[in-house]
Amino acid sequence: MTQTLEQIRQEFPILNVKVHGKPLVYLDSAATAQKPQCVIDAESEFYATINAGVHRGAHELAARSTLAFEEARAKVAELVGANAEEGSEELVVTAGATAGLNLLATSFGYASMGRGGKVAERFVLKPGDEIVVSKAEHHSVLLPFQELAARTGATLRWFDLDTEGRIRTDMADEVITERTKIVAITHISNVTGAITDVATVVKRAHEVGALVVLDACQSVPHIAIDFHALDVDFAAFSAHKMYGPTGVGFLYGKRELLEALPPATFGGSMVELAWMDKPADYMMPPARFEAGTQPVAQVVAAGVAAQWMREIGMDRIAQHEQEITKELLKINELDGVRVLGPLSTEQRIGTVSFEVEGVHPHDVGQYIDAQGIAIRVGHHCAQPAQRHFGVYASNRASCGIYTTVEDARAFVEAVGKVRAFFEV
């Protein structure tokens, strides 16, 4: 039976918390989403009933925990359109999207040093090669690939943004050239909420033989995703933004690419044969990239979160959030308020950044917070995107499935009072 929004909200214990004596209005889901009870329970349930090492040991609990771990991977794979059958897994467990993107950049770097042998040559970067990003990138995309360029002598190039902050994919033919080896780009900007025209980027990148790395952090929680259909080569996302626990994320890679990619971290459970006097033989993916003890309880809970999202339905989530977006965007009609991002709900999600003329974001946030409404203030770890709009920092409201129209209206009302409070 389909749950009502109110029933869904009741699954989130944190929504009963009062902030400054007022019911919490949580509009910071782009930073991290709140967790439903089933996700919270999944972690403690795991510890209480099946905790054991995975992919090692032969006792019954170890078998159960391994099964739970792999089932979770499969549930997440199902949500995002990746393979999870044994031997063809396409999701690597990471400590989060940042860790996944760094894993890739590190691994490309190792390939460029000759590691991984002949099959890894497709990842090699050298002077004259180009890595393409965009000005909208979160620092966790920009910096690992900027560093990779510095390490290999490759050149970093980037897509500019239009006045609404959308990535200028119409420039794809100029920005992505025969020299381009990697295109690392966000699916949805964590500042503007704009959805990137990935198809155009992928088409052009594959035309010139470049690999596409997608930052799917802000898309997986909000819209239906199918990595196979998008045809991206790699993608990274975090569990905690999709109603799951912190400390865990996933790196998607096309199976054949994962098989060719050299490992980036080394240790237990990623090696088949280790010797004193010759290099080790590494395991097949995903194990090759999962050195050391994994955050098993968190992965299991992330699987529960993925299943929970599928049960509600990604289309329903997206549709509901469109309604909220419409409400949030009404701040643009307020005097002295400017939305930094697309003004229509077309090809965007409910992540709405804005500035209030004459009032610093920190002060805006403080005032809004006093009304029991949590928004984000700062540069959102995307300083070039802030600079694009001519600001150092901004305010950002972002929604989730639990956000109500009333929440959004309370927010708009509060924003409307900011300038009067600060006497500007």
Partner: protein, 180 residues
């Protein structure tokens, strides 16, 4: 539990709102935003404008919000090293801007030891979690700066109020090292 609207009013006192709009000592060291961010990478060498003085500069940054302030100070070479000039450039929230402004009014013309004493008192005030200082004398010495007592209740904002003062301390140390 303090009513929050009351807390908000206590934080944003009139002195703060006023000072943040017309902050004292604020200058423009660079043409624009990008210039400013680029120019403050690396240590700038500053030369004293007053005779028989030494200058020091410090750049302070608040990574959570991107706020920054560059503080320039000039002190007399002769003991007890009077602060002859104190100017700054930067951008930030009303708390940081007002704090810089009040600081300029408070320490310009004082000597370095007095300024460091005020730094310590202000630091203590900001660590007081809204309670203020026990010592009335110290509180009095802080003058207008006591209005930041309300800010000390908000851990996320203490850094805003201290941004300028940290820059003062650092730039004074640099200027002292230059004195002839």
């Amino acid at each position: 539990m303090v009513d929050i609207d009351d807390g908000l009013e206590q934080m944003y006192q009139e002195v703060i709102l006023e000072a943040s709009k017309n902050p004292h000592g604020k200058q423009h060291f660079a043409a624009d935003l990008a210039d400013e961010q680029a120019s403050t990478q690396g240590e700038a060498v500053v030369v004293a404008e007053h005779e028989a003085c030494s200058a020091g500069q410090s750049r302070q940054f608040n990574p959570t919000c991107g706020d920054e302030a560059t503080i320039r100070v000039e002190i007399s070479d002769a003991e007890p090293h009077t602060i002859e000039r104190l100017v700054w450039d930067g951008h930030g929230c009303s708390i940081s801007q007002a704090s810089l402004s009040v600081m300029v009014d408070l320490v310009e013309g004082r000597n370095v030891d007095e300024a460091m004493e005020l730094f310590k008192d202000f630091h203590d005030l900001m660590q007081s979690r809204g309670k203020g200082l026990d010592n009335e004398e110290e509180e009095e010495a802080l003058g207008d700066a006591v209005v930041f007592q309300g800010v000390s209740r908000y851990p996320m904002r203490i850094k805003c109020a201290l941004l300028g003062w940290e820059g003062l301390k650092d730039s004074l140390a640099r200027a002292l090292a230059e004195t002839k």
